[in-house]
């Protein structure tokens, strides 16, 4: 039965992981625009600018 200590600890860690993922995704702005990405995926992109992702907003 003492394996429960371990299991509950593990389950809490996993839940904590989800909480952190949630907070990070909100912080990064994943939920800021809930419409445009759904359109963007249907549009053709001839070339992606690779430098784009290197620039991060303050």
């Amino acid at each position: 039965m003492s394996v429960l200590f371990l299991l509950i600890g593990a389950s809490l860690l996993i839940a904590l992981g989800f909480l952190v993922t949630f907070i990070v995704s909100v912080k990064k702005g994943q939920f800021d625009d809930t419409y445009t990405p759904s359109v963007r995926i249907l549009l053709d992109h001839t070339k992606q600018n690779s430098t784009t992702n290197k620039i991060k907003e303050q």
């Binding site: 039965m1 809490l12 839940a15 907070i23 939920f31 445009t36 359109v39 963007r40």
Partner: protein, 816 residues
């Protein structure tokens, strides 16, 4: 999602949206924007994605850029305010592009790098109508990008006050609340899970029981020290100001929950109430989130800054240059072009000034200004270029002065005075609860001291007004969302509460009860021949006076007749020789220069602006231009007059008095020639008589009145356009639904009162158990979520039913 309002009824061939006035014709098809046209061409060529047509756009621009239109974007001060990021090589700008309206727009804008290779990336936010552009600042400039956008039909909307920075602040607050909901949900779920053995009274080995309880204790720490901190702070401020608000009993409840639970666990006498505590804060945070309605493209707090142009042409040392408008100082010589706004009080030096003060005074017709006369800030020049010299700095102009009125200083004074329905209810509640808590404390001290602290904390726990605190956010939050779907965009839930208390409604005339972009035009007089009609149209085509433009649109014909010796006497009329006929149009004095006694037309007695027409100096007839009142105005005002006192304050003169009398029964309530400050003072007077006033207006001239009134409703033909600071924005098309909006808000607030009673009933049941020292964790764990969820459902379902009942396009439902 809000669809932009449009007048023309042509649908775009590609996306099906209605086309704006600037529709693009291509291959006998009509498109709403360049993006749609291009995408159509791409599909047509079966050349998906490979077409180089996009590059042709800049070779054949469809919009011309005025010289120096964007030169202020080279100014470092202006740039610093606008840019959201800048380093050695790159800059990031977020442009507001109201023209974005379809998927083709997204496609075109996000392919902008093909037009200017120094643009690295464009990201469109469709709902906010913004584009975030990253570009290389060494190789291209902000100005070049703004000009490029203008060329392809997306003129950036740049405003003096930094909208994005203040908006970002809201986003941060909003995100903090989301984090709190996340943390509360996490703790709530896990504590619940670990409390299950206690609920079911399962036999658990003591070491597990202790383990579970201590984990619960640890999990409750973020709830106390992170999630509930706002409630403690608000309660503390209220106590300091000797106020009572809902957060005081909430904080007391939260603290008793926590301390008693900690005590039970440490002394090993029980499991504590951590599950109820976490659930409580989870529901409270959810309620807070629910009542916050954010509109993507509506701003309620615009001041004069968003109205004044960001840059202005100034003459210095004989050279014309563009400067930021806030740098204009007394004595500067400025150039004002057609449709430009004068940023500060100025004296006319050169040119024909015809100033449209409609935004400032509400007077709908432009005023003729003579050389040497003062032009007030906020006036819009219509016609040719004028040169003026600034008479005051921007900060001391008349326009700015209206904002320096004390009403705008105590920005939040109104809000502070207003105590929400929840706070009012909680006042009695809190006093009652504290009384009961102490009563049970003393009672048990006398009967059985062992139970005393137990009963005392139980009362505070069970009476924690969770259901009371969330009933208004959920019910009114849902009501706000419903109203937004029907065309009334309300700033926040307290506006809804104020709306339910209104007993007096004040209207503005121009643009509020009349349509701002349409008028009734009537021709009275002799019948004109076809070529004479066409000649008139050609004549009106020459003038940029607003009445000429309206008449040009009214008259049928192609307007291509050839004019000879056209002349315009500003403020009087226009004349020209067409097909050997001498045609004149304008005021009676202008037409009747030969002093021939005018024929009496039936139009003489009609209200409205009159434009007389003469052919070869013989008066033929006259055009009567009347304000067009909104549809169903009569119906709307008569419904409203049953329950409200109606007033009309207008900046216009009394020429329409007779027309207005049919809409407003009490003629004393119609007041003409009201300056902005008069409107404000008149509303103050009504309020001093104990009236709760709702002001319905548009434009800057109503700004003071909107602010002074208990509820300021700004009416807008299109939610994208300028609207002054207000509490709510009404879609002009939904004007006739105003009575139902008022009824719905009142009923929603009643619904909240009913749900207060329900939550009080829950509290009473709980209190009975608490005062008898019978409160068990399971009981608390069941009662708390049960009461909260039932209140949430009651609020949401209730307002939805009310919406079905009252918010229908058919006005007949209002008759009872």
């Amino acid at each position: 999602m809000i669809k932009p309002l449009q007048n023309t009824q042509t649908a775009c061939f590609h996306c099906g949206d209605l086309c704006l006035a600037e529709a693009i014709a291509f291959q006998d098809k009509v498109f709403c924007c360049e993006g749609c046209k291009l995408v159509f061409e791409l599909l047509e060529d079966h050349n998906l994605g490979k077409s180089d047509n996009i590059e042709k756009l800049i070779q054949s621009p469809n919009k011309t850029i005025l010289k120096n239109q964007f030169s202020f974007l080279d100014d470092d001060d202006v740039k610093k305010k606008l840019l959201s990021f800048s380093d050695q090589t790159n800059e990031i700008i977020v442009f507001s592009l109201p023209q974005i309206h379809c998927t083709s727009c997204i496609w075109l804008l996000e392919n902008l790098y093909r037009l200017n290779s120094n643009i690295k990336n464009v990201q469109v936010d469709f709902l906010k109508r913004t584009a975030r552009i990253i570009y290389n600042k060494q190789k291209t400039s902000l100005r070049a990008i703004a000009e490029l956008l203008t060329t392809i039909g997306y003129k950036p909307q740049i405003q003096l006050n930094d909208i994005y920075k203040s908006e970002n602040q809201d986003v941060v607050i909003d995100k903090n609340l989301i984090y709190k909901i996340g943390v509360a949900g996490f703790c709530f779920g896990n504590i619940m899970l670990l409390s299950f053995p206690e609920y079911l009274s399962l036999h658990v080995e003591p070491e597990f029981q202790l383990f579970f309880r201590y984990i619960n204790l640890i999990l409750s720490l973020p709830i106390i020290f992170y999630v509930s901190i706002d409630y403690f702070r608000s309660a503390f401020i209220a106590v300091k100001n000797k106020n009572i608000n809902i957060d005081i009993p909430l904080s007391l409840g939260i603290i008793s929950f926590f301390l008693r639970s900690v005590f039970e666990i440490v002394s090993n006498t029980g499991a504590g109430y951590f599950d109820s505590l976490a659930g409580l804060l989870f529901f409270l945070s959810l309620g807070k989130y629910f009542q916050r309605k954010t509109y993507n493209r509506i701003s309620f707090d615009r001041d004069y800054n968003s109205f004044i142009p960001i840059a202005i042409s100034k003459i210095e040392n004989g050279k014309e240059m563009t400067v930021a408008a806030n740098k204009v100082r007394k004595g500067d010589r400025l150039i004002i072009r057609n449709n430009e706004i004068i940023p500060t009080d100025a004296i006319l030096l050169k040119g024909n000034a015809t100033i449209d003060y409609s935004f400032i005074s509400g007077e709908s017709l432009p005023i003729q200004i003579h050389s040497g006369d003062l032009i007030y800030a906020g006036g819009k020049q219509t016609g040719s270029i004028i040169e003026v010299v600034a008479d005051k700095d921007l900060t001391t102009s008349t326009l700015t002065q209206l904002w320096n009125n004390s009403i705008f200083d105590k920005k939040n004074a109104n809000e502070k005075q207003f105590s929400s329905i929840t706070d009012k209810a909680s006042k009695r509640f809190t006093i009652g609860i504290i009384a009961i808590a102490f009563f049970s404390l003393f009672y048990w001290m006398y009967v059985n001291p062992a139970n005393a602290v137990n009963a005392f904390t139980s009362v505070l726990i069970i009476a924690c007004p969770c259901a009371l605190a969330i009933s208004a956010p959920f019910a009114l939050g849902n009501a706000i969302k419903i109203l937004a779907q029907h065309g009334l965009y309300v700033k926040n839930t307290s506006v809804l509460e104020k709306l339910s208390q209104i007993d007096t409604i004040v209207f503005d005339k121009t643009g509020t009860i009349t349509k701002s972009n349409e008028s009734n035009i009537q021709y009275v007089g002799n019948v004109l021949l076809d070529d004479e009609i066409n000649a008139l149209k050609s004549l009106f085509k020459q003038s940029s006076h607003p009445l000429s433009i309206q008449l040009y649109n009214f008259i049928n014909g192609n307007g291509n007749a050839k004019l000879k010796s056209y002349s315009e006497l500003i403020g009087s009329g226009i004349s020209a020789c067409i097909n050997n006929k001498n045609i004149k149009a304008g005021s009676l004095k202008f037409i009747n220069s030969l002093n021939i006694p005018p024929q009496v037309f039936s139009a003489e007695h009609k209200a409205g602006s009159k434009i007389y027409v003469s052919i070869n100096d013989k008066i033929q007839g006259c055009f009567v231009i009347q304000n067009k009142y909104r549809e169903n105005l009569k119906k709307t005002t008569s419904y409203l007059s049953n329950n409200y006192a109606l007033y009309l304050f207008t900046g216009d003169n009394a020429s329409e008095e007779r027309n207005l009398a049919q809409y407003f029964a009490n003629e004393k309530n119609i007041q003409f020639q009201q300056k902005p400050i008069d409107k404000l003072n008149n509303i103050k007077k009504l309020q001093n008589d104990g009236k709760k006033v709702a002001m319905i207006g548009d434009g800057l001239n109503d700004a003071g009145a909107l602010k002074q009134s208990n509820v300021g409703i700004s009416i807008s033909e299109s939610v994208n356009t300028f609207s002054p600071a207000c509490d709510a924005i009404l879609d002009a098309n939904k004007f006739d639904q105003l009575p139902s909006f008022f009824v719905f808000s009142a009923k929603s607030v009643q619904l909240v009162k009913i749900s207060f009673f329900i939550s009080l009933t829950y509290n009473c049941i709980g209190l009975w158990f608490a005062t008898h020292a019978l409160l068990s964790p399971v009981f608390a764990a069941v009662l708390m979520p049960l009461s909260s969820i039932s209140i949430v459902l009651f609020g949401i379902i209730g307002t939805t039913i009310l919406a079905k009942k009252y918010l229908v396009s058919d006005m007949h439902h209002l008759q009872n």
